[in-house]
Structure formats: C-alpha cells, structure tokens
Symmetry: C2
Subunit: 358 residues, 2 copies
C-alpha cells in the first residue's frame, strides 16, 4: 500500500467542522483502495494569528512542504479584518501559495442537475455548464513590485500595485491551460485586457504563440469585461478559461456563482515540484461556525481533487464524486442548498450519509 | 433660447447610423423645449485612423473641448485590431477621456419591465434591478506609470502596468459617488480588493473617511470577487456602486448584462470643468454596420443623459426617456431585443417611431 503524507489546514470558521468530514471520508476511501494516509494538522489564518501572531507560521509552511498534498479548509473572519496587512489571514494564504510555488489554480464551475434550481440564471442558460478556470496564482498584481502606500512630493499619499508577467510565467500557466483543455472539451479561451494593458498584450502574444504546439485545441481570446458579460449571458460557450491572477479571482467567482451553490465547489492549486493545495471555493462562514450547519461537500470534493491531481488516484477520486451525487440523489441537503421536498441534514449527518454511500 | 454646441463623434461600425437617429430625436426635442443646438461632427477611432492615421486627431479633441457636451457613438472593429497600440481606436477613446479630464463614468444598469425576459437571469432575481455604477475613469491601471513591455537582465520580456490612486483622485470620485447615491436610493457600495492590494487599502480608507460627510448615505464595502458573485446572485441588493477604473470596467459590463439588453444602456463620462461625453454601453457591432439593423435606443438614451447631466435640461431628458418606454409599450423592437408577438423595426424606423412618440 502506498503511504501518503497529507497536511491538514483547518483554518477558521467552519473550517474545522468540514475538514473533519473530509478526513473521515478519505479514511474510508483509503481502506477501500489500499492506500494509507498519514494526516498532520497545522495552523493557518486567524487560528494561527491567535496562537502565534503569524498567519502562516514557519512550522506550518515546513509541514506543508514536507507532505505529498495539503488539504485546506477556509481562512478569515471579521475578528481579524482590522489587523495590519502582514498579520491578516489572507496574507497567510498568499504566503502559502508563494511558499509552495502554486502557480496554477484550477477552479471548476460545474452545474449539478440535482441543484440546477439553485442558480439565479434560467435553467436553459445554465443546464450543462461545465467550465474550468485556470488562474495564474503566484504572479500578476498580487505579487508585483513596487507595491505599497507612498507619500508623493506634495505630501499626498499614493497607493501603488504592479501588474507584471514575464514570458516564462505566461508560458508556464499557458501550458497547464492547454493541457487541461486537451483533457476536457478541447476549447481554450484566454482572457486579458490587451486593448489597454501592455502586460495583457504580452500575455496574448505568448498564449497565441503557444497555440502552435497545441493544434488540436481551439483557442479564442476575450477582453475581461466582455468575458464577464459572456459568463452571465451564455456560459455554455466556455470550456476552459485561462487568465491572470486578478482576472481569475473575479471570473472564477462569477463562474462559480452561476451554479448557485458555491458550497459545492472545490479547487486545486498546483506547483511544479511541490505538493498541491486543495480547498473549497467558499469562505469560512464565521456566522454559522460551530453550529453543525455547514455544507462539507465542497471540502469533500476538494479531497477528491487531491486524490486526482495531487496523489494520482483518479479512481478513488471518482468514488468520492459518485458518493456526493448519490447523497444528492437521495434528497439529502445542507441548509445552503435546501429546497422544498428535500431532507435537511447538518454537517456531521451529511458526512455520515456520504460514508454510507461509499 | 439657450444655444448649445454639441460635438458628434459617430466613430465606427453602426456608430453613424445610430447617432443619426439620436440627432433627429434631439432636434425634435430642442424644438419642443425652446433649446437650440449646433451640431459639429468630428472623426474618432477607426474612422479617424483611416482618415488621418491618428485615432484622436488634435482637431477632434479641440472641437470637443470647445463644446458644451459630446455625443459619442461607438469605436473599433476587426479592421484595426492588429495595429500598434498608439494607432488603435481604443487609444483614441482613452485620449479623449484624459484630454477632457473625464474622471467620473456613470453606468446605469436598469431593468425595463418590457424587456425583462431578455435577461438570462430569472425574473424574480432581476425584477426591479436599478444599479448605478460610478467608475473612476482617468486613473488606476489604465493610466498608471510605469507601463510597457521591458526586457529583463536575462533577456526575457516582462509586461508591466501600474495600478495607482492618490488620495485626491479617490476623494474626487468618492464625492461624485456619494452625491449620486443621495439622488438615488441612498446606498453606496464601494468595491475594491483591499485584502490583497495596497492601492485598494488606501481606496477603502479614503471612502470610509468621506462617509462622515454623508451621514445620510449607507456605505458598505465589498471585495471585487465577492461583488462579481453578488451581482449574479442577488443584484437587487445594489443601489449605487463606486469603484476604480479596471474593476468598474468589468463590473459595469457584468451589471449591464444582467438586464439582457445592452442595446438599451447609455453612459455618461464627466469631468470637473469640461464637457461630458455621452455614449452607449454597447460596441460598434461591425458585423451589422450599414444594414439598418442596429438598435439606436442606447444612443438616444445617451442623448437624454446628455440633456440631464451635460446641459442641465432634465425635463427634456425625461421626455426622451418616456418616448423610449412608449415605443417599447407599443411592441416595437429592433432585432437584438426582438421577442415573439412584437413588431420588428430597423434602426431608421425605430427613430421614426420615437419621433412620433415625442
Ligand atoms: C482570500 C483572497 C486573498 C483570495 C484571493 O484573492 O486569491 C480568495 O479570494 C481566492 O480566490 O482564493
Ligand atoms: C474600449 C475600452 C478601452 C473601454 C474600457 O476598457 O474602458 C470599454 O471597455 C469601456 O468600458 O468603455
């Protein structure tokens, strides 16, 4: 049996509750697939600030670096919103991405037939939507220098951030995107603002160049404003989308919300020779933390993504994904996806239903 | 009778057709309200590139500067997409904004009951949506220095743009937004990415400070990714939104698309002591140019915004807006907003129907 070392980062809010469910599910799956998993827990985000003053303690990063994959729940909460930047939960998350070199963020937005009525869009518009956003995650305006708040000659303050990409950074994420499109519908849409931004012009040139290496992939380009419109107007036109860090942040959330149920969506952040980080798209929901109300399914599906992309165990991943569809088919729902005629379950009970389905 | 000097910038694609309709409507309105308007036409965008090699000839900018307001149609088209940046239609538009100091872009997204079924969102989600996006238009990453494509020490190319705002720039647009909210529903939502970007942190601090001068306005803040989600999920929560140039570009288009009929949406770009520019939200639609198929209503409504915000003639503006609702009530539709049982009209015929309604 292959033994994997998994670092668990429960984080804040509902994080600990939902990650417990995911671990229970992974243990059952491990038994079935003759895999052995060693779990190590480490603090990040607000929990780490409270314990150590640092949202990403060196020990936590080291533990992640020494593992085969990282399962993250969610970070942040009102409590830490007014701390200085270097002490905020988000800074821990950005440090984790940089520290592990996680340059590729895969964010699926797939409509589940069982939950289609949760969408704010008309059924015929979203039926069958299955989009993968490939977002660059360690470059762009999130990390570009110079940045800061400076005082000008006149004594006025000026806030500055830099959106920058090198050819190498663009090619690297571009290849991931073309490869991803190849395993999916064979269509790739690159999103930029090349009619205004020079950094986008370089982006578009490099992605266009790369296309010659992937003649089987149908490449298109959209400006980011138009992409936001098209996602709302006719999301089925998209298969795989590739874009920079900031545009990816915005568009992947917009795409996620098309499904109407972000409590269902996992994500993967991958590097070159480092463990990937797998986490739900939703936040830490501090308002319902500790009340056994959270939806653990995105976290469980993040575990499935971990098996597929992080540990190369696609069959185990599939079994989890099937189990999620089965509990939905049985009519089980957490509060966030509840609808008339269904059976409402708490977080723990949903975990038990999943394990039964497996 | 007051005499106004209006510069017409027909631009490209369907621009000349739709601006002709707007001018006809404005002439009739002028007669009714004892206003006199002198129209002067000037080239911009692709048309100006073809004529002079420059997307904003000095003479065109000068003509605009010497007028009371500018009515712009639309610019751009495939034909000019591969020219170098300084020769592209968009560069002419950015030059116009900078040249006239148009720092405030007002972009309404209002659902018309007659066209509600055109929306890709469910009726109950969009019914009554009435959002005004106040977008900063002469700062941020659109104009920040340094920008360009540079060669690094290793010989690799690096694309760079700078997102920057000074306190003064933020306060200036902030005041416009608070004043706008005051004339509307009294709610202002400021959108930024203050959890990651220093420029957004300064933005949030200044907007928060300004709020003390507007105790009657209910101020909230959202991160841009969450704002994109909330627009899709529950757009009725928004009244007035204020944000920077890039986020405003994306969110105003997403908000526009919620209505399902961007052929109906006007916009205003305003400066301090300069003529405003009024233009439809939609593009130049080169594929249907010259075929008398275009929807002139957004252009006509841009004329109404010009009367209201540019010439301080709110009653004349209202008469135009009423006429637009009347032709819709009569069942007249252009192709882009056509639905079963309605009467389809071309661009010119829609103009005639409007004039009859006035
Ligand atoms: C929490 C925040 C820093 C983060 C981001 O902007 O990347 C989040 O929005 C995400 O998309 O993972
Ligand atoms: C054409 C382009 C430069 C422009 C912009 O990005 O501002 C357009 O998208 C707009 O919103 O007016």
């Amino acid at each position: 049996a292959h033994t994997y070392r998994i670092t668990l980062l429960p984080g804040d809010g509902i994080g600990p509750e939902i990650i417990t469910v995911a671990v229970d599910v992974l243990k059952v799956i491990a038994g079935q697939f003759d895999i052995s998993i060693n779990f190590t827990e480490a603090p990040i985000g607000g929990a780490a600030i409270d314990a150590t003053g640092n949202p990403l303690p060196d020990d936590s990063l080291k533990t992640c670096q020494d593992s085969d994959a990282v399962l993250l729940a969610a970070i942040g909460g009102y409590k830490w919103d007014n701390l200085p930047r270097h002490q905020r939960p988000e800074t821990g998350l950005l440090g984790l991405r940089a520290g592990l070199g996680l340059f590729a963020n895969l964010r699926p937005a797939k409509i589940l037939p069982q939950l289609i009525d949760a969408s704010s869009l008309k059924r015929e518009i979203v039926e069958g939507v299955d989009i993968m956003v490939v977002r660059e995650l360690t470059g762009g305006i999130y990390f570009g220098q110079p940045k800061g708040i400076f005082t000008t000659e006149t004594g006025e303050k000026r806030g500055v951030n830099t959106m920058a990409y090198t050819e190498g950074e663009i090619d690297r994420i571009g290849r991931v995107a073309f490869e991803t499109a190849r395993k999916r519908g064979g269509k790739l849409c690159s999103v930029d603002k090349a009619n205004v931004l020079e950094v986008s012009q370089l982006w578009r040139d490099r992605i266009t160049n790369l296309a010659s290496e992937y003649p089987d992939i149908e490449l298109s380009h959209l400006y980011v404003d138009n992409a936001a419109m098209q996602l709302v107007r006719a999301p089925k036109q998209f298969d795989t989308i590739v874009t920079g860090n900031l545009f990816g942040d915005i568009l992947s959330d917009a795409a996620a919300m098309l499904t109407g149920s972000i409590g269902m969506l996992p994500s993967a952040s991958l590097g070159e020779n480092s463990p990937g980080v797998f986490e739900p798209v939703h936040g830490s929901a501090p308002d319902i933390a500790g009340e056994d109300k959270a939806n653990p399914l995105a976290q469980v599906l993040s575990g499935a993504m971990m098996l597929r992309y992080g540990l190369n165990q696609p069959q185990a991943a599939e079994r989890i994904e099937q189990a999620v569809l089965m509990v939905l088919d049985k009519g089980y729902r957490t509060g966030d996806i509840m609808s008339p005629g269904m059976t409402q379950l708490g977080c723990r009970a949903m975990g038990e239903a999943l394990i039964e389905a497996i």
